[in-house]
Symmetry: C2
Subunit: 426 residues, 2 copies
């Protein structure tokens, strides 16, 4: 345990690490572990999607409409059915969007600000203040949307089975300015936490003071398992219906990490009433999304099983990368007591916690040696991790050999930063 | 001339028309002339675009980035260059969006409302009132965006070479609440009017009282010529630069009516400073647009000449349809003095003006006999054509034989509605 070493030992430890660090620097590395991007080999497994639609006859949707032309604002029927099936929703509870679920989330917040949502007494931007609950650590792009619209973010701690629901229940029932909460319920970003059935049920039974409160349920990793025993979460829309609160949730998903990040299709699922209300606004914004790409996806995946077996191919590439990261962390750091980490069964990230006050320093040491990590603090609203401990590791993009190099360097930087801190405090 | 007939003659004329109308009704027609949709034969000429990108090696952009993955928010370099070239702009004056220029326009207004534009003193939604100038007749979807955001619309009459610029200059210089104007400068929707060089220069030299006034320059029909002598308009961004007002214009275009309406690419062009400001907001909204589709378009069209020669194929299909409509109008109505129409050299519409107070009745008679026209009034803000005269004819979608039937019926309905009115007034 590094924390139990005396100053002399620590200094020796530090000096040795520093030598090793200098030799890393001489390698002139240029590695990027900052974002949850699929690797090129993952993209290749979707390539057969590219020559499915070739002749005019291929382009017709199941209702006879021509996907090349204008129309069908909410998506082609077979795409609504496919992704509805995946999320356990009916076709009329689905809007198929463009290539970005982030865009659907942004638009949902933007519309709520300018016009309100179904059941709003007024547009959110006419409220004195709007607040969102943000379970932490969480996804930086969710927080950025809130910050962009001046929505105040209140953090809620994550527990091992979802957000601290006592806290969530208390806050939403007391404060009418709290209009929403961000959730990544399955394999959360970054910790890979799976919401328990109890947590989902407590979400569905929330009694918010705001009549137009919305759960932003970002089911980004709904089929992104890393083991052969996929976790399941309860269907939030079903649970909300049971609780008589069908309109309280917006569900988001996309094929970004199923097919192509830049050229997939995104999905908004919600009660049919919510979908009707959103569609009325959407009709002003666009004539239709890219239905050719929707049809391409349906013809490639066919059905839910098609998506699931496709995800097995992703798993075959990703599981070894996650194992590599975990093995390296285990081998190099377990004896020192200077880093905690999770072992996710799905999703795109491994979340680690350093000793207090070390995360920024670790990321900066990595950067200096040519390895870009997600910024420390990014997993907290306003980029502010109060204890400066959390770092999100994204193991998916680099090839395995680069990943090993990057992780070895990362462990070294954790040792350096921890030793620095302990020496300083000793 | 119907207007000179006596009551008796009119009644006889009306009775004959009515008989003919009844026989049309017995045909149970179901034709849609309401929107500017390309016909299926037009969509077929772009089909070779569908098998250009097949193997992983095809998917790499000119800067080495993988179009399948995340990134390149403003578009792949070669797409920015291609569409920049088409619009006479540099690559850094271009953002390539998703499949919808309407969406880029909506987003631009939405962002201006919530955050303002470059040079705004405050978000537009913090102003007491925001107004837009709307040359009329104009495009209903432009007006719908304004109405959606509570922007008051002030109509400005169109002249034969663009909007009444005396009126535009006077209004924008007097009223700081006027923040924008909608323009379709080449083959305007619906009249097919081409803005003269003088009109474009006067636009570029506007001195609006609002420091953050924007010209929304929807160059929807930039290469959509119907004759072999394409009209040219001056480059508004260049003219604005000359006038020292580079930031005053947002230019929009898309390949919707070049490649596929549902699966094209849309473009925002503006000063590099405007593009930077927009991109900063866009970074919150999405990670990237569909770059695979961007690359598909670049590889298909290659360059500006590629687009232009492709548009010749569209012209070969469209010109006969426009000629058919104009011939039928000419043959059936010119002797009666009850309809005026334009003869556009490009674009997607023919605009007609009935006798005062007859447009709604004509559209309703058409509908009763199974032919859907664009709603009368749609070409005016709030759907309110004060004289109830203007109807937009969209000849592109129906096959030629259906178009003939629909137009014959339309002419009959014009006769009926006009005779009704004249009998009523006699």
């Amino acid at each position: 345990m590094l924390t139990e070493m005396k100053r002399e030992q620590l200094t020796e430890f530090y000096t040795e690490c520093e030598k090793e660090y200098e030799s890393y620097k001489s390698l002139n590395l240029k590695l990027d572990m900052s974002r949850g991007k699929p690797g090129a080999d993952q993209l290749d497994i979707t390539m057969p999607i590219m020559d499915i639609l070739i002749s005019p006859g291929d382009m017709i949707a199941s209702d006879g409409s021509d996907t090349r032309n204008y129309g069908l604002l909410t998506g082609i029927p077979e795409a609504r059915e496919l992704f509805g099936g995946l999320l356990g929703c009916k076709a009329d509870e689905i809007i198929i969007g463009g290539n970005s679920s982030l865009s659907l989330m942004y638009d949902s917040v933007s519309r709520a600000m300018s016009h309100g949502v179904l059941g709003s007494e007024r547009p959110w931007n006419k409220e004195e203040k709007v607040k969102f609950l943000c379970p932490v650590p969480g996804y930086d792009r969710h927080f950025a949307v809130c910050e962009h619209f001046g929505i105040e973010m209140i953090t809620v701690p994550m527990k091992s089975d979802g957000p601290d629901m006592d806290e969530v229940e208390r806050l939403v029932s007391e404060d009418a300015q709290i209009k929403g909460i961000w959730c990544v319920p399955l394999y959360s970003n970054p910790e890979g936490i799976v919401y328990s059935d109890e947590a989902v049920r407590r979400f569905a039974n929330l009694s918010p003071k705001a009549p137009d409160f919305r759960i932003f349920w970002d089911n980004a990793y709904c089929v992104h398992h890393l083991t052969d025993k996929p976790h399941r979460i309860l269907n939030i829309l079903e649970e909300c219906k049971k609780a008589g609160k069908a309109d309280m949730v917006y569900i988001f998903a996309s094929s970004s990490k199923i097919s192509f990040p830049g050229a997939g299709v995104a999905v908004l699922a919600a009660s049919a009433e919510n979908i009707k209300a959103v569609t009325a606004h959407l009709a002003i914004q666009t004539i239709c999304f890219d239905k050719v790409n929707q049809l391409r996806h349906v013809k490639f995946f066919m059905n839910t099983d098609g998506i699931k077996s496709h995800m097995e191919k992703h798993r075959a590439i990703l599981a070894p990368k996650f194992r590599t990261v975990l093995d390296i962390l285990d081998n190099q750091l377990s004896e020192f007591g200077i880093l905690e980490w999770n072992k996710p069964d799905g999703g795109y990230f491994i979340s680690v916690n350093t000793l207090s006050g070390c995360a920024k320093r670790v990321v900066s040491l990595c950067k200096e040696a040519g390895v870009i990590m997600t910024s420390a603090g990014a997993t907290f609203p306003y980029g502010n991790d109060p204890e400066d401990r959390n770092i999100r590791i994204a193991p998916t993009f680099p090839p395995l050999d680069e990943l090993k190099t990057a992780m070895n360097l990362f462990c070294l930087c954790v040792k350096l930063a921890s030793a620095e801190k302990l020496i300083h405090n000793s």
